[in-house]
Subunit: 363 residues, 2 copies
């Protein structure tokens, strides 16, 4: 495993090729290419496939000769707008846009993982269309890294689709478990199903059914903990929290909003009196550590799971440092063979299913 030392391991390691839609994001190619340089310094074995409009990309590439030296750049006429509807983006951007080309590079075998800071819905639609779902997985999920009191957890789905039946929740559990083993260097990451702590309420049938099925599941490396509640997310009670996309998205944004809110309270409190400002100066290093811990750029990057290829969505409003975190995440997913781990688990899982549900081999 690599983790914090991956820049050391990287110097001796095989090349990882990363395709980037450099047109995605709120501010243009400077963020993506600047981020590519930061990641390249950390992982010298990276190579890039860059896609975008040459008039804006080429001048930026000139400013980053290190990135230019390890990149193929391909001009694309079409860029997907941040507010484009997925269906419209797919219609206009299929086969020609920088976003499509970055994803297609995985399918062509010229890239190991694709990154874009563009429109989430469009990126998901293109990824599904171009890469297709893995055998045995019906719906994709977006997995987010969630900072906790224990370190980090994985939460999925945070918004790929809305609603999930019991089988889809189990698929998410299997993919989340594989991702935790790839990312956290754990052999038996714990899995929790997000629920509300009331036993006797209607409407939880799919979660209850999924829970009962997961409790019965015996798979190497798979470790079902049980139900968890909203406050278990921050506690880090489990390594992987599984939920459907609507709830996951609301939980994620609600937590992000709370973190920002407390940051504002803290700033206001420390600015209010002279003595508080003096205290702040003394404690500045401690505050810097805190800001660092709360820095959303550190956990930038949603991992699209369930397709024949790994696509990472960076926040559109991040900067080069944040984009580099998304690249690093993609790099780790490739180095630690996420897709292979998922496929392997899915195969094992298929074998645990009751014989009656499998196609007969006797006839």
């Amino acid at each position: 495993m690599f983790g914090a030392n991956s820049h050391l391991a990287g110097t001796m390691a095989a090349t990882v090729t990363i395709s980037i839609d450099v047109m995605g994001g709120d501010t243009g190619p400077e963020m993506a290419i600047g981020g590519a340089e930061i990641s390249l310094i950390r992982h010298p074995n990276i190579r890039y496939e860059l896609f975008g409009e040459k008039d804006v990309v080429e001048p930026v590439l000139e400013k980053y000769p290190r990135v230019k030296a390890v990149s193929n750049f391909e001009h694309c006429d079409v860029s997907i707008a941040m507010d484009a509807k997925p269906s419209q983006a797919l219609r206009r951007g299929r086969k020609v846009s920088s976003m499509w080309k970055a994803v297609e590079a995985i399918k062509n075998g010229s890239s190991d993982v694709a990154i874009s800071a563009g429109n989430t819905g469009a990126l998901m639609a293109m990824s599904k269309f171009c890469l297709r779902m893995m055998a045995g997985i019906e719906r994709p999920a977006i997995a987010a890294i969630w900072p906790t009191l224990q370190g980090e957890s994985i939460v999925l789905d945070v918004g790929a689709t809305i609603g999930a039946d019991a089988q889809q929740l189990i698929d998410f559990s299997l993919m989340g478990s594989a991702m935790a083993r790839a990312l956290f260097d754990l052999n038996n990451p714990t899995i929790g199903l997000l629920n509300i702590g009331v036993e006797e309420v209607k409407g939880l049938d799919e979660i209850k059914t999924a829970g009962a099925m997961l409790r019965e599941l015996t798979l190497p490396g798979f470790n079902y903990h049980g139900f968890v509640e909203g406050d278990d997310l921050g506690k880090g009670t489990v390594d992987v929290v599984v939920t459907e996309g609507f709830t996951g998205n609301i939980a994620l944004k609600s937590a992000e909003g709370t973190a920002k809110q407390i940051g504002e309270y803290l700033k206001a409190a420390m600015n209010r009196t002279l003595i508080a400002r003096i205290g702040y100066l003394f404690a500045k290093q401690a505050f810097d550590r805190l800001s660092d811990k709360m820095d959303p750029r550190k956990v930038n990057g949603g991992v699209f799971l369930g397709m024949n290829g790994v696509v990472i969505k960076s926040h559109g409003g991040t900067d080069a440092e944040g984009f580099a975190a998304a690249i690093d995440l993609g790099y780790d997913m490739v180095r630690n063979e996420l897709l292979k781990k998922i496929s392997h688990d899915l195969e094992n899982y298929e074998q645990t299913r009751p014989v009656a549900e499998q196609p007969s081999t006797e006839s």
Copy 2:
């Protein structure tokens, strides 16, 4: 309106009678009766109807003579366990438990509002059974007070039921609007529907339908803002956020968990070095203000809406100060005529419905 000055207004005001299930909560009657004393000092026009087991309650009442002087106490043989299932609690506790009696006091006209720190599911089941739903409201909701950068908002439903159709979301919006006018001294509180920021996703039909209907609605004092996302909760983008109970509960606990997590980070950062500890001493007053702002006891109390009577659920794990906040909330709801405001809005709303949907008056 009363708000922060309600203890002044209270001295000249009519009596408010509050019934309390003193057996609810994790620690016993000391919390509820201690809280009753704190609220009584703030609002001398309160009278109490107390229900519980005399062997444990009477010794505590002796320690709070002020509360004893303004209270009727009634012994109840049965107390509802914190982990009782709602159906079981209803079977064992109907007509005889302290929880039931506190709620029934509203129905009997001997109390204006009921408070319990007991089991949420049991309290909701008893409230529905005893008080019945208001005409025109199909499902109850639990409304929570949410601290925001702008002050406070109301969020509902945070867990009364799971799932809600468009009409139920509209009912929640009307009740939330009435509560905001009762609590915040606003004439036109803004209402938002919680959603994820993706236009083109399946499964949001009930939220989209509710949004379209709310946009068309013209009612005095009703002010629909549109969709809001998870991070708008902390920002205080609207005065009332409406969602179904599963999502609302996860959002609430996820935010609470994040606040606690950051509190822990802050504590650890300030303890880490001598110079940080010195800084902390200088800035202590600022930190105290911050803790005060983040103190969950200050916003203790979920308001059960939709029934013929107001019931307040206090956290089971709070202390006397937190319980007093729940009593104050109930007091404000009575003084500002929450139920009358809701009924009034529901009547106005019924009149806005297309004629075709109303029972014919011509036949």
